[in-house]
């Protein structure tokens, strides 16, 4: 029998990765807004993602819907355990999402919508990081129902991962802007990028040291023989890509800083998956224990296997149509 749960976890994991990368750089643009004062330059930054942001955010909805379909137990327990951060995150996303439209409609209140875009992006990113941290820490369940407290998610660790995700998204956004802009905006981003890279490296390092220190199981997973040999390339590659990205910035390459940051994201994500596997509700519920009835997983899988390749195709098409660099004075439809 085919292991449907395994296929679904691959799909959801890939969906979340795509989300982190795509919405990462467009949330990052909001985080980087305060570093650029000029109104027209801010327009340029926003217009690099205006045609694609809402497709990017759809990957997050897919992550949620995929869990709902294939692992309803995860959807119900994790979401009620992380009640406040998730609700506040979607509210932050409201402010930032409408800013795309409202900013161009407003006259006097344009500055206000800049702030909505900035704080919406920062808060949404931060809370995604908090959610990540709280998830790694584990969620208390009894017979499939969340039995922890309403503030279990709040810890120094989760606040720190929150900060980490803000920096991560800012770095992605910075790489994206180097690729998509020219002139002053690009210069500015070239100057910011190394600082962000180093901050990111420090944060990755801290999380990687802290997590196994606190979680016995995760330490076991990483440091026992023979796993340590399989997994040891992960930190080595992180160092390598950080150095490469810094060098690429120095040489003023346009595309590679973004690509190396992307590689870092994928590595960090791999580390995250290694730490959790095969649990889906840490610390103890596995993907098979949380699985939906087979008929649900199969029905949804048919749609996913047919539609996801088509989605990837037209998403790529859309990025191709808007492949040019964005410059001051380029027109939207507004």
């Amino acid at each position: 029998m085919i292991d449907l749960s395994l296929i679904w976890i691959v799909i959801i994991a890939l969906g979340v990765l795509i989300y982190v990368v795509l919405d990462g750089f467009d949330l990052g643009i909001g985080i980087l807004f305060p570093f650029v004062e000029d109104r027209q330059e801010r327009d340029v930054m926003m217009n690099t993602v205006a045609p694609v942001w809402d497709g990017n955010e759809t990957w997050m909805v897919l992550g949620g819907a995929g869990l709902f379909a294939a692992f309803p137990l995860v959807y119900s327990t994790v979401l009620s355990a992380l009640y406040m951060p998730i609700t506040l995150m979607v509210i932050a996303l409201i402010f930032r999402g409408v800013a795309f439209e409202f900013r161009f409609k407003a006259n006097r209140t344009k500055k206000l919508w800049d702030q909505a875009f900035i704080w919406g992006s920062i808060l949404a990113s931060f809370l995604q990081g908090v959610i990540l941290g709280a998830y790694i820490q584990g969620i208390e369940t009894t017979n499939g129902v969340f039995t922890g407290g309403g503030l279990d998610w709040l810890s120094p660790f989760s606040l720190f991962t929150g900060l980490g995700v803000v920096v991560l998204y800012a770095t992605l956004g910075c790489g994206w802007l180097i690729f998509k802009t020219a002139a002053r905006v690009q210069d500015h981003m070239y100057r910011l990028m190394p600082k962000l890279m180093i901050a990111l490296f420090v944060i990755f390092g801290a999380v990687s040291i802290y997590t196994p220190m606190v979680h016995e199981e995760i330490a076991q997973r990483w440091f026992s023989q023979p796993q340590i040999w399989y997994f040891s390339p992960v930190p080595i590659l992180v160092i390598l890509f950080t150095v490469l990205a810094l060098r690429a910035c120095k040489r003023r390459q346009e595309f590679t800083p973004f690509i190396y940051t992307l590689a870092l994201v994928i590595l960090a994500y791999t580390g995250f998956l290694i730490s959790l596997w095969p649990n889906i509700i840490p610390p103890s519920v596995t993907i098979w224990q949380a699985a939906a009835p087979q008929s649900s997983q199969l029905f949804a899988l048919i749609g996913a296997l047919i539609l996801i390749p088509i989605i990837l195709f037209y998403t790529a098409l859309s990025y191709w149509v808007f492949r040019d660099k964005v410059r001051i004075g380029d027109e939207g439809y507004h």
Partner: protein
């Protein structure tokens, strides 16, 4: 911050509040996306720039509404887990896959082509652009298909068994095409088209009242009024079929809608036009009704028997006071829509369609009627489903997350404040754009032999025309239209 209410009550208020706000935007998007596809198709077909200008105008309102629909929709897609986790745990096996299909087949399609639709002019050819618009329009309809299938399944569930207290789907065809689905889908689709039709008509009417008589305004008004004429009566017909379906599958809901307490054994059931159903006293007070009309509508015979609310245990009854009135508001709006359409048709025949202040005022005031009817209708069907979340299978009170009233109360307050500010402002921008009205960018103001606007600037119509026509020229296809066109023009240089 429990506001003196239980977590269950607060969660229900929160769901009602967020979904009511949300539904407004998809309803506009569904209707306008198809309208835009029609406009662009007409433009490609006839090359008449009027259609292109109308497209340029309505696409802005569409984009605003779509953006608000997306962000308020993300809230919905997570609320099942945050507030209603027991529902998700037990019924996620059915509603989860349906939502996944909606995301995969609709959300991505809309979002993927929206960029090209909004920003793609000049980057892709007109045909490709039309294709993008069409995909967005189709996406909105596919989205409606899945979400209504899911909602209808909660109203008329079938195709599943229970295993270890979890719902296990056994027949997906039966689940997707459950007994009330086709009626609900048709009813909602027509409602969305009517919402937009009334919105377009009211906008045009506003400009007609202000004295504009140019082709852009007249075309909008005419197209919208034809659509209302075609769809409003059809909606009444579909609504009747939907009602009969409800009688068959959810008799308690229907009895509550009619304020009908005692089963009528030996006489016809009246249709109450007025009344205040009292849940405690188990009667409809101050009732004014038309004898036998209830039976006639419900059973298509003069004294057909219809089950009364007293046949159901008190804990299984939906709140008749609410649904009695929400239903009447919806039907009342529908009747007014039909009257508007017929009045318009009559004046069209008479030749005063574009000059009757009465018609234009009527159309203007009817602008929000689509939304009112839509919300009233949803309140009827959702409140009427209570006390069940899945009709006859799972009670709403058993669906709640293990969260405290404080948490739900706090987020409810945040939602109310944020929605009122953010969407209030969004709606204000929409009204502002409608107030400004469609502009001549590619077309010239004096088609149809009228020069109302141009005559206000008597200097030279020709100069004006050339200026206005210029953007059709390849070099300047991107016309600056933002709030500060001046600075934009400087930039392009």
């Amino acid at each position: 911050m429990d506001l003196g209410l239980t977590a269950l009550e607060l969660a229900r208020i929160q769901f009602a509040f967020t979904v009511s706000f949300h539904i407004i935007f998809p309803a506009i998007s569904i209707g306008l996306a198809s309208f835009l596809a029609v406009l662009e198709w007409r433009w490609l077909k006839t090359n008449d720039p009027i259609y292109r200008d109308l497209f340029k105008f309505w696409v802005k309102i569409f984009a605003l509404s779509f953006g608000m629909g997306v962000v308020s929709g993300v809230v919905m897609s997570y609320q099942f887990g945050t507030n209603w986790s027991e529902f998700s745990r037990i019924a996620g096996s059915v509603t989860g896959p349906l939502l996944t299909y909606e995301v995969l087949s609709a959300f991505f399609l809309e979002a993927g082509f929206l960029g090209i639709m909004l920003f793609g002019w000049g980057r892709v050819g007109p045909k490709t652009h039309f294709f993008a618009t069409l995909m967005v329009a189709i996406g909105t309809c596919i989205s409606m298909f899945w979400i209504l299938s899911s909602n209808s399944w909660m109203q008329t569930p079938q195709g599943f068994t229970f295993e270890n207290g979890i719902i296990v789907p056994t027949d997906w065809f039966a689940i997707v095409f459950n007994p009330s689905f086709q009626y609900r889908l048709a009813h909602m689709a027509l409602a969305a088209f009517l919402v937009s039709g009334l919105l377009v008509a009211a906008t045009a009417a506003w400009h007609l009242l202000k004295g504009r008589r140019d082709a852009l305004v007249k075309k909008s008004f005419s197209m919208a009024m034809w659509m209302i004429l075609a769809l409003a009566p059809l909606q009444m017909f579909v609504g009747d079929l939907h009602g009969l379906n409800t009688l068959e599958h959810q008799p308690a809901k229907l009895a509550a809608i009619e304020g009908h307490w005692e089963t009528n054994k030996d006489h016809g059931m009246p249709l109450y036009l007025f009344g205040i159903p009292d849940m405690e006293a188990e009667e409809t007070k101050y009732a004014i009704g038309i004898p036998n009309l209830g039976s006639l509508i419900m059973t298509h015979t003069m004294d057909g028997e219809v089950k009364g609310l007293k046949e159901f245990a008190p804990e299984d009854r939906p709140n008749s006071t609410i649904v009695f009135w929400s239903f009447r508001i919806m039907v009342g709006m529908g009747v007014l829509m039909i009257l508007l359409a017929l009045f318009g048709l009559w004046l069209r025949k008479k030749g005063t369609f574009y000059d009757s202040k009465w018609l234009h005022k009527f159309a203007l005031y009817m602008g929000p009627s689509g939304f009112i009817a839509l919300l009233a209708g949803w309140f009827t069907t959702e409140v009427g489903r209570q006390p069940w979340i899945i009709y006859g299978v799972m009670r709403t009170k058993d669906a709640l997350s293990p969260v405290s009233a404080e948490q739900v109360g706090l987020t409810l307050i945040i939602f109310v404040v944020v929605y009122c500010i953010v969407f209030g402002i969004g709606i204000f921008y929409m009204l502002k754009m409608m107030h400004k009205g469609p502009e001549f960018i590619y077309s010239i103001p004096h088609s149809d032999g009228e020069v109302i606007r141009a005559s206000k600037r008597p200097m030279s119509t020709i100069d004006n025309d050339q200026q206005l026509d210029a953007p059709a020229n390849e070099h300047q296809r991107n016309v600056p239209q933002s709030d500060e066109p001046k600075s934009n023009e400087e930039n392009t240089k």
